[in-house]
């Protein structure tokens, strides 16, 4: 659900990077943060939890092109992947406009991917939303590791809805597939908001 600020002539979109723990969501945001020009990004904020927990969430505001005279601004979030942080994940999903599902391609994380995707659907339902109506893409991360499942099998597990969404192979630490996923989901969000052809600088 985008937010329009008529005074600033800006429209805000919320993109959430979702996925199991240690799949590479933070790595995606870190790479985006490193690679975007200073003028187009705000500060990245990472909140960590305790000694044996990972990220609470990450946040990165970025600005993009102008559409119909409105400056588009994207707020990029990650969620904590650990199972017991579900309330945090649910809260971060509030008002989401698009999702990048970051899957861990390693064989021993396949089950975690499936459970995380199912958790995403459940949490969206809390807000009367569904994956069918939410722009999202899938990024199969860590493709540089040796013990990864074939993409065909990952697709079979994670992209099996009636309409298959775009997917990308990724190595987030090296930037592979990071901007492909971000740009695609952003354009899907824009297409949903503006319905097509109008574009700006």
């Amino acid at each position: 659900v985008s937010i329009i600020n008529h005074a600033e002539k800006a429209i805000y979109f919320k993109i959430v990077y979702y996925g199991p723990g240690v799949a590479g969501k933070t790595a995606n945001l870190q790479y985006i943060h490193r690679c975007l020009p200073h003028a187009h990004k705000g500060n990245m904020v990472s909140l960590a939890t305790g000694d044996d927990r990972t990220i609470f969430f990450d946040f990165l505001p970025v600005s993009a092109l102008t559409v119909r005279g409105f400056q588009t601004r994207f707020q990029l979030y990650t969620v904590p992947g650990q199972v017991h942080y579900n309330m945090t994940r649910r809260l971060v999903l509030r008002g989401v406009d698009g999702v990048v599902f970051v899957a861990d391609s390693q064989w021993d994380r396949l089950r975690d991917n499936v459970e995380s995707l199912r958790n995403l659907e459940e949490n969206l339902r809390e807000y009367q939303m569904s994956l069918d109506a939410t722009p999202y893409v899938v990024q199969y991360n860590k493709r540089d590791l040796p013990n990864v499942a074939p993409v065909e099998y990952l697709e079979f597990m994670l992209n099996r809805r009636a309409r298959r969404v775009p997917f990308f192979e990724g190595v987030a630490t090296e930037g592979k597939g990071v901007f492909d996923a971000l740009n695609t989901v952003s354009r899907m969000v824009l297409a949903g908001e503006f319905g097509g052809a109008e574009k700006g600088a």
Partner: protein, 685 residues
């Protein structure tokens, strides 16, 4: 093909039957008078009743596991006997020209009856396999040393329907259901083709000999397996062997593997795996594979072995299974999303050039605000963006009915996130009975509300050490205090190189966090739910004034003798070192404690000597093992930005190995995941 069918169609068996019958009749014709001379004829009833009884006894002995077959066999032998007697009479009448009464008396003498019975038994000996249940000796042509395995087709034990139903991790509530309940569950046609093809597939392989080395276990004791023939996948036994506790088998694992029905491999019906493929997991009940194990290798009954497995299930390595399945199974069922309209929008984001590697590290560090542990948010938090356009974090419960403030969107350059301090109107700490420390404490020891409801706060003095304790009611405070006192000396142990700010003991859901506050003063927090551990550690640090390193109690002489010796580092251990990336570069060392037999796998920065850390880890574990909370699963020392983790490795029923990892850790969650993986791998070394 089974032995039964081969015996029926083998011409040799029939030739044998005819030859023996012919010899018998020739003997009757030649030696008929001899039988008459040697004994008188038996009464007809006796002569024709005794042989069937004899045959019935013999048939039941040979076919005791298949009574119906035994009865049939006895009838067949009796029929053969009658046929032989009739043929003998015919021979005597036709060839020898004797009278009917004489001929009958000849075949009913004791000698005549005995010879006929012996002839029947010898004549039908090749058919004795009919008396046993159908025994199959399936083998696929694929051998373990072949580089590529075709999908094996082999007859296996088909578990009862209820076991099959229990085997997949599929539950109606969706716990094991495909991710998209609304979409097609599988490529149904392809699945059906595989299953149907499997059912019709013939078995073409002959039995193969049991392996010579190591010597095979009595294959005859292996329970018979039954039809139908199924299409199978082959799973290397070595990949699942670590799920069996050693007490499950009488033989070493390598011999168990060598004596499997398919040496070195388990065969699993594809149809049991297909429903689970969408879950990224493959599990089968023990009963599915039980018959493939030699009976003598099992230490107990199948039910006992099943009890030793988690939920009676074997988790199979899916990376071994998927490559054996036809790719058509993984054809996504849906249609690709139409994204043609997207080209109307240029890519909103373009990566910065030059590449990020050239960006100044300091600049990046300044731009990335990462909160430290001291001002982290609580575990479950609500993001609240107020009118002042700041994000705040406040504690909340998991209860979805808790009031949640809708976040508002704000300007990008005004965005900031502040980790608010935990709610402080919490349980007040009782005034210290003996205030051994110099710092003011009560204000800092207030518990967050979420913890205050679940922990009981008290203050005790034990052995001259003042302890501010926050302990879950389910835990014995005395036991927790005792554990804390056991851990406290190690906080200031010289072998650490620096004094630790905090140490956390974990054993299952129980966690005890010990944080030094001042000389002779500790903050001790104990929880019986692992989920609150992060909050507990953070609170303890705050309550201890930031967890400033201080000597809690005098460090005693802890050396327990240097009976540790370095041993060669196996390749598998070296490989594990490469996976612990969150600890920075680490060098693997393996040490053996000759006193206790404990093996220590150390992964420390190359500049850190291994022996002191090995003795330290051993001493910590030994000290805690004598406490009432028992051997820790893990002990974590927080040393500024560094962590030292001592983790027990499960080695059967006894923990005889320790994993010790240390180094700078900036992503503790990742470190934890890496350690868990490393522990699993090392447990199999």
């Amino acid at each position: 093909m089974g032995r039964r069918r081969r015996s029926l169609v083998t011409p040799g068996a029939w030739v044998w039957l005819v030859v023996i019958a012919g010899l018998h009749l020739a003997a009757v014709a030649t030696l008929g008078d001899l039988a008459r001379v040697m004994a008188v004829a038996l009464p007809a009833v006796t002569a024709f009743a005794v042989p069937p009884a004899l045959y019935l006894v013999i048939a039941l002995l040979l076919g005791r596991r298949a009574p119906a077959r035994a009865l049939g066999g006895a009838l067949a032998m009796a029929a053969a006997h009658a046929a032989l007697a009739a043929a003998g009479v015919a021979v005597l009448l036709g060839v020898d020209g004797r009278a009917v009464t004489v001929a009958l008396s000849l075949v009913t003498t004791p000698v005549g009856v005995a010879v006929q019975a012996a002839t029947v038994l010898v004549m039908l000996a090749p058919f004795r396999g009919l008396l046993r249940p159908p025994v199959r000796y399936p083998r696929t042509t694929a051998r373990a040393d072949r580089p590529v395995y075709p999908r094996a087709k082999a007859p296996v034990a088909t578990p009862p329907p209820e076991e099959i139903a229990a085997s997949p991790a599929i539950t109606p509530d969706g716990a094991g259901a495909p991710a998209d309940a609304g979409g097609p569950a599988l490529a149904e046609d392809a699945v059906a083709a595989v299953v149907d093809g499997a059912a019709a597939a013939p078995v073409v392989d002959e039995p193969t000999a049991a392996p010579v080395e190591p010597p095979p276990v009595d294959a005859g004791r292996r329970s018979p397996v039954a039809e139908p023939v199924e299409e199978m996948v082959r799973v290397p036994f070595a990949r699942v062997a670590d799920q069996f506790p050693p007490e499950a088998f009488r033989l070493p694992m390598d011999r168990v593997a060598a004596n499997l029905l398919e040496p070195g491999h388990l065969l699993v019906p594809i149809r049991l795996l297909l429903p689970q493929l969408a879950e990224g997991v493959a599990q089968v009940a023990w009963s599915v594979v039980a018959e493939q194990f030699p009976g003598q290798a099992l230490a107990g009954a199948h039910a006992e072995v099943a009890r030793l497995l988690p939920a009676g299930m074997l988790t199979l390595p899916i990376d071994e299974i998927v490559p054996q399945l036809p790719a058509v199974l993984f054809t996504p069922p849906g249609t690709a999303l139409d994204v043609r309209g997207l080209e109307d929008f240029p890519p909103p984001f373009q990566p910065h050039v030059p590449p990020p590697g050239e960006e100044d590290e300091d600049t990046r560090a300044a731009e990335t605000e990462a909160t430290s542990a001291d001002d982290e948010p609580d575990e479950e938090a609500v993001i609240v963006v107020g009118a002042d356009e700041e994000c705040q974090v406040e504690t909340a419960n998991e209860d979805p009915s808790s009031p949640v403030v809708e976040p508002e969107r704000i300007g990008e350059h005004e965005l900031d996130v502040v980790a608010a301090a935990p709610a402080m109107p919490a349980a007040a700490v009782e005034p210290p009975a003996v205030d051994a420390d110099a710092r003011p404490a009560p204000a800092a020891v207030a518990l967050p509300e979420a913890l205050a409801r679940s922990l009981h706060v008290s203050r005790v003095t034990r052995e001259g050490v003042g302890m501010t304790m926050a302990v879950a009611p389910a835990l014995d405070a005395d036991v927790v205090a005792d554990t804390a006192l056991r851990m406290a000396p190690f906080l200031a142990d010289r072998r650490l190189g620096t004094r630790a700010e905090q140490v956390t003991y974990r054993n299952g859901p129980v966690a005890v966090v010990v944080t030094p506050r001042a000389p002779g003063a500790l903050v001790v927090a104990a929880s019986d739910t692992a989920a609150s551990l992060a909050l507990l550690e953070r609170w303890a640090l705050q309550a201890a004034g930031g967890g400033a390193p201080s000597s809690a109690v005098p460090s005693p002489a802890l050396a327990r003798g240097e009976r540790l010796r370095s041993v060669d580092v196996p390749g598998a251990v070296s490989a594990v070192a490469g996976t612990l990336r969150s600890f920075g570069p680490v060098a693997p060392t393996v040490m053996h404690d000759e006193t206790t037999g404990t093996v220590l796998y150390l992964f420390l920065p190359p500049s850190s000597p291994a022996l002191p850390m090995a003795t330290f880890a051993r001493d910590v574990t030994a000290e805690l093992a004598t406490g009432e909370l028992g051997v820790p699963v893990s002990v974590t020392f927080r040393l500024g930005s560094r962590r030292l983790v001592i983790q027990a490795l499960e080695s059967g029923v006894a923990r005889t190995a320790l994993l010790v990892a240390g180094g700078p850790v900036d992503r503790p969650g990742l470190a934890r995941v890496e350690l868990e993986r490393a522990a699993r791998r090392l447990a199999g070394v």
